[in-house]
């Protein structure tokens, strides 16, 4: 079983979001980049398949050299090889096209993407890779079991969950639930040392024009101060007469 885990290189969840160059670029100043949390749940599940079912796990990122530390971290967690497609990640579609090419060439059985990246929140890359490669697709996947070429997956739906039967090749959009928060692995020294000598292939991009582009970022308008009250009568009164929400 060959698994490809797509790794998005994103600002840490505690980052303050600011923009530069006339609000057209994300300000990376002082920002720490991490493996996208949804991808990390998927990577950790892939490690389970490696250890229990002998899967080979490769990780891939579309981006410049600055994303390599994030790929090295994935190698330190336990992935066997990494691939970086050497082109800036412009929009969801162009990234999906690069990933679909990697997925096809490597003949992967399972491609694990995150439900969404926490920066652009596009939530489209997994589905697009599936459609471009003709694989089955399960989004918001919170459980995945594989036996031979058959797979059982659980998907989170609005207000519950759904159990699905499908087959390989398969693409999932993973999230918390695939593994629990407590299952996530912090790379140990041995993993970090090994990661240095694991292959990190640089792959030149295929032609893939972006379909969308950000022309400008905006920050939400600053919020007014909180109105503090000291009893529930006043609160209900304000919610009814001022906020008009009850």
């Amino acid at each position: 079983m060959k698994i490809l885990v797509c790794i998005s290189h994103v600002p840490d969840t505690t980052s303050k979001i600011n923009f530069t160059e006339g609000d057209t670029k994300f300000d990376t100043n002082g920002v720490q980049f991490v493996i996208n949390p949804n991808d990390e749940f998927g990577l950790t599940r892939a490690m389970w398949f490696k250890e229990k079912q002998g899967a080979t796990v490769h990780v891939v990122n579309v981006g410049g050299a600055e994303t390599e530390p994030t790929l090295r971290k994935a190698l330190a967690i336990g992935a066997d090889e990494a691939i970086r497609v050497n082109t800036p990640a412009t929009d969801g579609f162009s990234v999906a096209k690069q990933l679909a090419n990697v997925a096809k060439e490597g003949a992967y059985d399972i491609v694990i993407a995150g439900r969404e990246s926490i920066d652009y929140n596009g939530g489209m890359v997994g589905g697009m890779v599936a459609k471009l490669t003709g694989a089955n697709f399960v989004n918001t996947c919170i459980s995945l079991e594989v036996e031979g070429t058959n797979a059982m997956a659980v998907r989170e739906i609005d207000g519950g969950k759904e159990t699905l039967k499908t087959s390989l090749p398969l693409v999932i959009g993973g999230q918390k639930g695939l593994v629990e928060e407590s299952d996530l692995r912090i790379p140990n020294m041995r993993g970090i040392m090994q990661a240095r000598s694991k292959p990190l292939h640089i792959k030149e991009p295929v032609d893939a024009a972006a379909e969308t582009q950000t022309v400008q970022f905006e920050k939400p308008a600053p919020k007014g101060a909180v109105k503090l009250v000291d009893n529930v009568d006043d609160l209900v009164n304000l919610l009814h007469n001022e906020a008009k929400v009850i």
Binding site: T13, F137, T140, K176, Q213, E218, V226, L238, L239
Partner: protein, 320 residues
Amino acid sequence: MSVLVYTESENGTFKKIAHEAVSYAKGIADMMGTTVTAVAINGGDSSELGTYGASKVLEVNNDALATFNANAYADVVAEAAKTENASVVVLTSSADSKFMAPLVAVNLEAGYVPNATALPASSAPFTVKHSVYTNKAFSMTEINTGVKVIGLAKNAYGVKENETAVSAEGFAPTVNTGGVEVVSVDKATDKVTIADAEVVVSGGRGLKGPENWHLIEDLATTLGAATACSKPVSDMGWRPHSEHVGQTGKPVASTLYIAIGISGAIQHLAGINSSKVKVVINNDPEAPFFKAADYGIVGDAFEVVPQLTEKLKAFKAQNA
């Protein structure tokens, strides 16, 4: 040229997000001087969609589509878009919509922008405002392709009445449900979901343990609200992670969000940012959540919440 909107339904009734999506599609159609066609799969009463601006409804009635199948649903929407020569396809932010949107986009070779919070700023170039960085910012994004797919953020545009003469016709697209098969669905039918809820009542570590969750549930029942929780609460297993709200959990875009015993970590605040009115009850006046809230009570949840529930019951009885 037209604007196509997918109108989601459940048990033969259109959801509120379908009304919202039609209202939004009508807004775009007016900008472009065209009309709205809705496509409904085993949907509700089509005449109802005219209220919000649909001129035509393509009704798909097919038992093979009784349970959601992303590929098959995406094919239906794409085929409807081609039949109608649609230049814009409007979807929503429901779990099903987000599942099928990338499949629709690739099929139509269309650029896709999710989480749209407003009508396009202009139609040429076609520029849409949408939330990014988990509601910590917005992006004005230009879509360069001939056909555009837009996913409308929940509770962002609102339901707008726009009475329009509407006609319905049967639509029988090619349906292929292969690949992924639903084995079972596990969904509480008696509970309001976070996705559909107008009001969400959410609890954090301040509640001290799962045995105290009746405080949250009683308040939620009184308000007809969905229950939610913070990340630590779901990590400790006090509540299922389907209730976890925040950056790695569910986003909440309710009209009213009441946070009880939640300090307000930046990741939590990001997830609830698009809720309209936020109320915080916390015994720590320094809790960061107070900076993000509209109304707050500094006090002990174990005293304040039962009082609030009682007060709201009395209020509901009076205003019933």
